[in-house]
């Protein structure tokens, strides 16, 4: 160790002893909150369906007494003055742009203040209002009984609710849902879901495993792990996509079968594609500084730029503190100008996600004329920490813009505070895809190889409904697609939004079905239930699929019976291996004593041609996961 490090070490280890009074206060507050939480635990626990925003709001409004909020916000405000003496004291003041006010129809002035300030700043504003001559010593340790508090909560109790940094359970938040349960066909023969062509979950899992840790179970979405890979599905003839059904054995259960439903999107000739209008909406907040975030993002966009044509247009908007247009709409042929603009991006400030979105959409609309495709490409680490306090308004905004023809795709970067569920929600509302980019190779796959697919929708609102035949199938379960479940009646309702298929996209969905009389049945028959009407029909079930061609308001129906025809093609094995791997990572209840070793064997046996090495990489990941799981 060098002298410098030794010196730093001894200096760091001479931390001043904590102030006893401060310690006592902190411990008492912790214990108060602990007691509160125990009391309200049942009421406050968010449902798994809630998005992170809803969760946050639930916690804000129900976890703790308002009085405690107020205490904490006063404490936080106090911190604003004293933190100046920290390591940054002699540094030049960090300048961040003023977050732009949002156009979300604020009700009053207080609402405006709420939308254009980060939560923490609001605490400060409230206190400054209440105590015009701020002094850290005075405002810092006010207890709930204090007069200042009374004024604060009396003047604006709802603001007080919104102020406190919420006790968030974690910084990374995933759109995790409990595994789909096994359904008894006689009781519930219909299964309805929306397709999903996202692959973000696979890339996230890869990043976690390569970093030496198993991914959190809720970060694993089985369908995205399966759909990450390409399969040899037959190309469609005249429809926008082909539909195929195959039935194979289940690797992890000899007594059940796998029903594989696959869609293959048509791939129009690339030269025929209409001009593209792309608005890069780039998160340049401080959290994007890591090498796997903004620097990787710049490289990724550079890669993509080389695939664009002279008639395509590009604009760049950033959001960090304030949303700003870095590059006005520019023809893709002016490569040097675009690259120069990209190079000026520097991380700093907090994330004004919503203001950025508004600016990007305004540009996208300005660029559209006629039949061109306009798309906002949002690149972020997902930490929208400023300006979004009305998730519904944001969602509605994106949905309205979608209907006017501007789509939104989301590219996730980095780990640490990745808000997966937010990314999913935004992309789903904007008719786009959510991808997670962890390496330059992934950027190549997502942005270059799939440029057409990612950017040209060929079928919208694709929904799948399967009715199983109770005289053949005793039980079934849909593997994955937990975040895409639809109600039975949503299938025929064209107003209900669902997933999109882009040019060349593939979608695979797997059901595990248990034949009637199989030893693998989990549920006993009902003693008093009606016996299912026996039919001679030997079909396993009936597949119905609805989609809209882009721009159409009414959907088209496709119907296919599911029959027990053996499918020995390798692609079924690979999809099953990936589904099995994903379920092991999720800690599935249904994989029995099937192990990572079995997954490796199946994957290796069904690897097939692997031109880009993606499958070989996946096998390495399973092996790593196996060693990590020990």
């Amino acid at each position: 160790m060098t002298d410098e490090l030794d010196l730093l070490k001894s200096a760091l280890q001479s931390a001043p002893a904590p102030d006893a009074a401060a310690k006592t206060r902190a411990l008492r507050l912790a214990q108060e909150n602990f007691a509160q939480l125990q009391e309200t635990a049942a009421a406050a626990r968010p449902t798994p369906k809630a998005t992170f925003l809803e969760t946050t709001m639930t916690m804000l409004t129900s976890n703790l007494r308002p009085a405690l909020y107020a205490t904490s916000c006063l404490v936080m405000a106090g911190a604003a003055f004293v933190t100046y003496q920290g390591w940054d004291a002699t540094r030049p003041t960090v300048t961040t742009h003023e977050p732009a006010a949002l156009e979300l129809a604020p009700q009053d002035e207080a609402a405006v203040a709420r939308t254009d300030m980060p939560m923490a700043d609001m605490a400060e504003a409230e206190v400054m209002e209440a105590a015009p001559s701020p002094s850290p010593k005075v405002s810092k340790r006010v207890r709930p009984q204090g007069a200042t508090l009374g004024k604060l909560s009396a003047t604006n109790p709802s603001a007080a609710d919104n102020v406190i940094a919420p006790p968030q359970p974690d910084r990374e938040i995933f759109a995790g849902e409990a595994e789909n349960p096994v359904k008894v066909t006689a009781e519930d023969p219909i299964s309805t879901f929306s397709i999903d062509v996202d692959t973000a979950s696979y890339a996230y899992v890869r990043a976690a495993i390569l970093d030496g840790a198993l991914p959190r179970p809720e970060a694993v979405r089985v369908e995205e792990m399966v759909n990450y890979f390409t399969y040899a599905y037959p190309a469609p003839s005249d429809a926008p996509f082909s539909t195929n059904v195959a039935v194979t054995s289940t690797p992890w259960n000899p007594d059940t079968k796998l029903v594989r439903i696959s869609l293959q999107g048509a791939l129009p000739a690339i030269e025929d594609r209409p001009p593209l209008n792309l608005v890069f909406l780039i998160d340049t907040s401080g959290s994007m500084q890591a090498a796997n975030k903004l620097p990787l993002l710049k490289q990724s966009f550079r890669l993509m730029l080389s695939e664009l044509r002279a008639e395509d247009q590009v604009a760049i908007v950033t959001y960090a503190g304030a949303a700003g247009t870095v590059l006005e709409p520019t023809p893709a042929s002016e490569r040097a100008k675009i690259l120069a603009a990209l190079d000026t991006l520097e991380p700093g400030g907090s994330t004004a996600g919503q203001a950025g979105l508004h600016a990007a959409y305004a540009l996208a609309e300005q660029m559209t004329d006629g039949e061109e495709v306009s798309r906002v490409l949002l690149a972020t680490d997902g930490d929208f920490n400023v300006g979004i306090n009305n998730p519904d308004a944001l969602k509605t905004f994106i949905e309205d813009k979608r209907d006017t023809g501007v789509y939104l795709s989301v590219l996730g970067f980095g780990r640490g505070n990745y808000r997966d569920d937010m990314m999913q929600t935004l992309a789903q509302s904007g008719n786009g895809t959510a991808a997670y980019i962890d390496t330059l190779a992934e950027a190549q796959k997502v942005l270059v190889d799939q440029l057409t697919g990612a950017l040209f929708p060929i079928a919208n609102d694709v929904k799948i409904q399967v009715e199983f035949n109770p005289s053949v199938v005793g039980e079934y379960r849909l593997i994955g697609y937990e975040t895409r479940a639809l109600n039975r009646e949503d299938f025929n309702n064209d107003k209900v939004d669902a997933g999109e298929i882009g040019a060349g996209h593939q979608v695979t969905a797997l059901y595990e079905v248990t034949p009637v009389g199989s030893p693998a049945l989990l549920n006993d028959p009902l003693r008093y239930g009606e016996a299912a009407a026996a039919t001679d029909n030997e079909e396993l079930g009936f597949l119905k699929l609805r989609y809209k061609t882009p721009g159409a308001a009414e959907s088209t129906l496709v119907e296919t019976p599911i029959t027990d025809t053996a499918d020995r093609r390798a692609s079924a094995g690979w999809a099953a291996a990936m589904a099995g791997f994903a379920q092991l990572l999720r800690g599935s209840n249904y994989t029995g004593d099937w192990t990572y070793t079995d997954a490796i064997a199946l994957a290796e046996a069904s690897k097939g041609a692997d031109p880009h090495g993606l499958r070989a990489e996946a096998i390495r990941l399973i092996k790593l996961a196996e060693s990590l799981a020990e």
Partner: protein, 172 residues
């Protein structure tokens, strides 16, 4: 185990747990933020939020490692907020006065420390707070920071490089 009991709602266990770990939280906060009062405030915030966060603690993890992660996240949030506030408070003469008062109290050692820490970007600062300050191994620090061990080792060599550059600059 105390942490497990606390997760299950045992108030006594939680009280004991937090009393044992408060100093750790405070020390780490001080190392990252560089000011006593800010560190006390932050430690208090962490303590206040800990009951709610406990649900994300998994019994197979080491409590201290998990706590380092929580503390580091809180420190990052605070630094981020500070960047925004810095602008809001521009022109407040108070700030400078307070800083000067603080500087006068500081020993030469602490002055050097402040200089060294200011020279380090946030991620390196966090890393030294855990490796040098808390004596964690690179592997432990990596786990707490949510990065790979290689990243921690790389950061430490980077710290070394920057410190040497700083010392050389001073001796010129």
């Amino acid at each position: 185990m105390l942490a497990t009991a606390a997760v299950q709602g045992d108030a006594k266990a939680f009280g004991l747990l937090i009393a044992r770990h408060y100093d750790r939280i405070y020390r780490v906060a001080w190392r990252v933020l560089g000011a006593r009062e800010a560190a006390e405030d932050m430690a208090q915030d962490v303590c206040a939020a800990l009951p709610a966060k406990l649900s994300s603690f998994r019994a197979d993890a080491k409590f201290s490692t998990w706590l380092y992660t929580v503390t580091m996240n809180a420190a990052r949030d605070r630094l981020r907020r500070r960047a925004t506030r810095a602008r809001a408070n521009e022109g407040w003469a108070e700030t400078t006065k307070l800083a000067q008062a603080q500087a006068a109290e500081a020993s030469a050692d602490q002055e050097w420390l402040a200089e060294a820490m200011i020279a380090l970007p946030e991620d390196l600062r966090e890393t030294v707070a855990l490796t040098l300050g808390e004596d964690l191994t690179h592997a432990e620090a990596a786990e707490a920071l949510g990065v790979s061990q290689g990243t921690v080792s790389w950061r430490m060599s980077e710290v070394k490089r920057r410190l040497r550059a700083m010392v050389e600059e001073q001796s010129v």
